[in-house]
Amino acid sequence: MKKNRLLLLFALLLTVGLVLGACGSSGEEGSEGNAGDDSSGSDTNKEDSGEAADSDFSAAMVTDIGGVDDKSFNQSAWEGLQAFGEENGLAQGEGIDYAQSENDADYMPNLNRLVREDYNLIFGIGFKLTESLNTVAEQNPETDFALVDAVAEAENIANITFKEHQGSFLVGVAAAMKTESNKVGFVGGENSELIKKFESGFRAGVASVNPDIEVNVQYAESFGAADKGKVIASNMYSGGVDVIYHASGATGNGVFAQAKDIKKNDPSSNVWVIGVDRDQHEEGAIGDNNVTLTSMVKRVDIAVQEVAALSQSGEFPGGEVLEFGLEDDGVSVAKTNEDAMTDDIVKEVENWKQKIIDGEVEVPSTEDELDEYLNTL
């Protein structure tokens, strides 16, 4: 009896081992086949890019740690890629795809895997991928790469940047018009050159309307920590701040959550959130109310779609820096919440927008420029 049981156990283990082993060997064969395809694949790629506008074109993207459903920046990029796919009859897994990164160490394997799967164009979403994308691009000169939000050196990388300071300036104007306590808040993701652009523009916009408004600036040190966003928002709101602009990716979901909590308990309370990257109107909905005042919309989707189309038609802007600003609607201010964005505010925003486009106002994008700007007021 005892022996039988033992035998059974070992038999079970062996079976599982065999099954796994079988998986393994077939896997190896498969990959060998892939390796063989690899070289031929890249050969056809070369021919294709010469021909321009071929039907086999494929594009993929690697997210930063926010993930593809961050309701912000990565999601917007993926929506752009999906729109591009729809135009060209491509679907996820068949022509377009994304790879999500759990931490900084995942960028390289994700990028390399997509290169190995013979995608013609690979997007790196976010400045955190700069180093990795540079390395991978240098090792794979045949593939097109695009980097969003930063500038890399390699010749086969198209650099997509935005004039976030301009859009932030305008939402700053809106915030300054909306605040009753004369205290507004800014929640940043990571303290970095990029987010400083948002902060500088926002503070300049607020000060342009009313230099006496206090701007409370806090950094969550993360683009993925909704819990931290909630704590910071809680502190700000209880300290009298009534409008918070967040430039913090998924961390901002915590800011929304806190504002909605306050609104839920007391529908008459005056709390507002300004969204970022996408129109975050739906994030702010709570019952019949909506805490989203407006959003600084950064059309990552349009940019992604445009670069994909350029790459497909053989006019890939490798090594160039593409800058999307107010004049080409690369950044804009959402007016979805019509109750909150009164005509006065919209008028004032349009007013400043025209001044920026006409070059009358030079929006600061760094702390030093901001100091200079504030001195001229």
């Binding site: 049981r5 897994g93 790879a99 931490n103 390399n112 799967e117 400045f127 993701g189 990571e190 920590a225």
Partner: protein
């Protein structure tokens, strides 16, 4: 019939198998194909030389953090602080690696030693507090993790770079990276650190099993009071255990700094190397060889998981679930032990 040794080997193996089976069941119940899923996992970790290299690269720091946690466990301490020790080790190694140039034979060991010392310091403080004041090491090490994270971020921005998000690159003389290994694995980030890690495993085994100091450490781990009665200095052993544990974790950070990255980015969240190290140690039965084997398993799962969404459409979160299930079954080893004993009894 079942010797203790057999038990110690059987339980992790059964846990892993049960975890994989449970993962398969979950995949089926959510409408994914488990065979395709596990095949993608395999291809993504051993499918070709690139992924093989990346897997070994991921295994390297896991060995160190696994050893760190296991070492503390054996001395009766729960070192949750491996995470923070990894971060300070990473920081120290990059600091030494980037700030000057020198002959490799001096520079590289110096950077490694700096990492070990930094990790050791991060382990020393909780050890000291535990030994002298009886403060529980879990609380202190958790706090030390946060201190490490935020201090290192600030130092990277202010001292190691000019207000950038990454430190400067280390010089070649401090780098563990090898162009030979990289070329051989089609430009993965495989580096010589794996040799250092395997050497560290041997050191841990030798230290714990073959030296008097190791005997004392284990003895304190088994029973503090008996050890004290036998004339051992319990406080000294607690501090020593934490220091050595921290040094292992610090070296794990050096693997990232000197091998994988060659610089240190600011971290918005923990690297999870230290926390995964707890699972590695648990699965490896807190034994040096076990830690190496379970580190290989965890590295495989981590790297292979990245391939599952693209090749088999299985969300990578599912792999996290499989890993969690494996840990669950390891942690519930008591149940497996009970079941095995039941089988044995019934057999008689």
């Amino acid at each position: 019939m079942f010797s203790n040794r057999l038990f110690n080997i059987l339980i992790p193996v059964i846990s892993v198998v049960l975890g994989l089976l449970a993962g398969a069941v979950i995949m089926i119940s959510f409408g994914y194909n488990p065979v395709a899923g596990y095949q993608a996992l395999w291809n993504g970790s051993f499918g070709d030389t690139y992924f093989f290299g990346e897997t070994i690269r991921q295994v390297t720091p896991y060995i160190f953090t696994g050893l760190a946690v296991a070492f503390a466990f054996r001395s009766g301490l729960f070192n949750i602080g491996a995470e923070g020790q990894v971060i300070v080790g990473w920081l120290a190694s990059v600091w030494v690696g980037a700030s000057f140039d020198g002959p490799m034979i001096i520079h590289l060991p110096l950077a490694l030693i700096a990492a070990a010392l930094a990790g050791a310091l991060w382990g020393f403080l909780p050890g000291l507090l535990k030994a002298k004041l009886g403060v529980h090491e879990v609380i202190i090490t958790i706090m030390m993790n946060y201190i490490a994270l935020h201090v290192s971020n600030t130092l990277i921005r202010t001292v190691l770079s000019e207000n950038k998000d990454t430190s400067d690159k280390i010089t070649d003389s401090a780098s563990l990276a090898s162009s030979w290994l990289m070329e051989w694995t089609s430009y993965s980030r495989l580096h010589y650190g794996i040799l250092v890690a395997l050497f560290a495993a041997v050191v841990m085994w030798f230290l714990l099993e073959k030296t008097t100091a190791g005997f004392e450490l284990r003895s304190v781990g088994f029973n503090k009071h008996a050890s004290e009665y036998a004339g051992m200095n319990v406080g000294k052993n607690i501090i020593l255990a934490m220091v050595i544990s921290g040094a292992f974790a610090g070296l794990g950070g050096a693997m990232e700094g000197l091998g994988t990255f060659g610089y240190m980015p600011t971290h918005s969240a923990f690297t999870n190397l230290g926390f995964d190290g707890i699972a590695v140690a648990l699965l490896g039965g807190n034994h040096a060889l076990g830690v190496v084997l379970s580190a290989i398993l965890f590295g495989t799962l981590k790297i292979g998981a990245l391939n599952m969404p693209t090749e088999a459409d299985v969300p990578s979160e599912l792999v996290e679930i499989v890993i969690a299930l494996i840990i669950f079954f390891v942690a519930s080893s008591y149940i497996i032990r009970w079941a095995l004993l039941r089988l044995k009894k019934e057999g008689k």
